[in-house]
Symmetry: C2
Subunit: 317 residues, 2 copies
């Protein structure tokens, strides 16, 4: 399979594993890159020291294969983490939650390829102005932090496709090969998948988190926290406390009190599925009843599902 995304990153399948907090350590990133995709280490939940360790171990595991780091730009220590990325000669950085202008030139000067994550065509145009190498358009279906416009992937991808000529990666709601084909019909040239990879054996999330997410029904994740930063959460005790507060009209400050500190670490990494914060995409319910699979198995299924859906659609006309 060949698109501008496989060529840009030098990968076999246009599949990127999102760099997710508490899930995307070196094991997951390396497994995805070794299986023909692009694995990302999630710097969002790492200190500089931990990030360096994950980069070194990832490189040991993948050899000459490409891999990357996802960097949320609103992170207070983003500048320190960026130094680590440059020192360790990481080949690719995906930036998010900030302006694409801030780091793109700096990274390019150091020979690092840059993709930026957006949730609207206005920000996609800013990416083009900033000179990024690719844009990730992430729809309402995505887990965790989400765009204010609430535009779904089905409506977002065509909008971004028209707004920019950049290589385009679709994210949000894409957990199968069928969905991969669907977003490529809309103009995407690759996909970034979070949910599917967060629930693999190689993800560093707790087993309790993975098992909980693999039994979700439709409607079991919802977008909340619109008064702060819109976030897709899984139903449970933490979710209920926020929803009840929002229903009675709680302010942003009151919501911050309820969230407290360390909630996503407690939920995702430590496996407190009742009181911790659980972030996963809407597509999780499509994985219901599956086992915790290996990355290799997931990549094999993606290829097969994509080919099968493509065969079917070729007969339509």
């Amino acid at each position: 399979m060949k698109t501008r995304i496989t060529e840009l990153f030098g990968i076999e399948m246009p599949v990127i594993a999102g760099g997710m907090v508490w899930c995307s350590g070196w094991r997951l990133a390396a497994a995805v890159s070794r299986a023909g995709g692009l694995g990302l280490i999630g710097a969002g939940s790492m200190t500089a020291e931990v990030l360096r360790e994950h980069i070194v171990k990832c490189r040991q595991a993948v050899g000459e294969l490409p891999f990357g780091v996802n960097m949320p730009l609103m992170k207070p220590d983003a500048a320190i983490l960026m130094e680590v990325v440059a020192q360790e000669r990481v080949p690719v950085v995906f930036t998010s939650a900030g302006s694409p202008k801030k780091w793109t030139s700096w990274l390019h000067e150091r020979g690092i390829k840059v993709a930026h994550v957006v949730a609207s065509s206005i920000f996609a145009r800013k990416c083009e102005d900033a000179g990024v190498d690719a844009v990730v358009a992430e729809g309402f279906e995505a887990g965790g932090h989400n765009g204010r416009e609430e535009t779904t992937t089905l409506c977002l991808i065509p909008a971004v496709r028209r707004a920019t000529s950049l290589p385009l990666i679709a994210a949000g709601g894409v957990a199968t090969g069928d969905a991969m084909l669907a977003v490529m019909a809309l103009g995407a040239e690759g996909v970034q998948m979070g949910t599917r990879f967060a629930l693999t054996a190689e993800s560093s999330a707790s087993e309790a988190f993975k098992r909980r997410c693999l039994e979700l029904n439709e409607g079991d994740t919802r977008l909340l926290l619109r008064k702060l930063s819109p976030t897709r959460l899984v139903r449970g005790g933490f979710y209920d406390a926020i929803e009840q507060a929002e229903n009675r009209g709680a302010t942003g400050d009151e919501l911050l009190q309820i969230i407290g500190t360390g909630a996503s670490r407690r939920g995702i990494f430590e496996g407190d599925v009742e009181q911790g914060e659980l972030e996963i995409g809407q597509a999780a319910s499509l994985l219901k009843g599956r086992d915790i699979e290996s990355v290799e198995e997931v990549m094999r299924q993606l290829r097969q599902e994509f080919d099968c859906a493509l065969q079917k659609i070729k007969n339509f006309r």
Copy 2:
């Protein structure tokens, strides 16, 4: 083009025009059926007398071609309207907002084909049990009344595809031929489009409503009224009043007070785009800058876009 949906209804293109309040009179329904799709009259905003008039005029315009009526089952006078549908020998009824068990046998006994609109795979299975001829799965992107699960079309279609073997029509976020191809890659065999047809010349909505909807940006429609019945509305004075009340924690009763009576008639039909209730799908922003087009022109573009997207995707592997 041939799918189980074209065969079921005896149409050329698997495209159904949603039966929308204040938009879907006989002119719109007849134009869609004459252009090779299936036009639906929207009974939701009609009295028995008005519905009969629209059915008679639609039949005069289409001759032997199929057409249908959309019937929201929660309408207090649904039983009276169903009698009109049967007396006038309408060939197809799409039911929504209620149980598919209630009317399916009754309609079948009168030789009428039945499709039912759902927003979850649980309700899709109920459709199969009730013996409907086809199921419409409508995602979060859709305008107006919406499912409680907030499942987007990208996640809903595969879920419903697995849950039932019924002929499957995708709705919500589908306004172009590319999106038609995308949802068919997910397992749909046809599409129901509301937004695109609501804004055609033949739609009975006011010109002011159509012009307002053709200038929307991403994020200009949102789902509100979760404490009553979740509804996708267009930003404006009416929307602002509801959003502000919800942000301060207003109850369902307080929201009903703000909504008042006749709001959608005022907004959509009479064209009070500031104080009236405006309902349109999220895909409206993809139509920004277009003119008010004829149904024939829309159907021509859909064919062309579909073919073009299919050609592109055939080259992926």
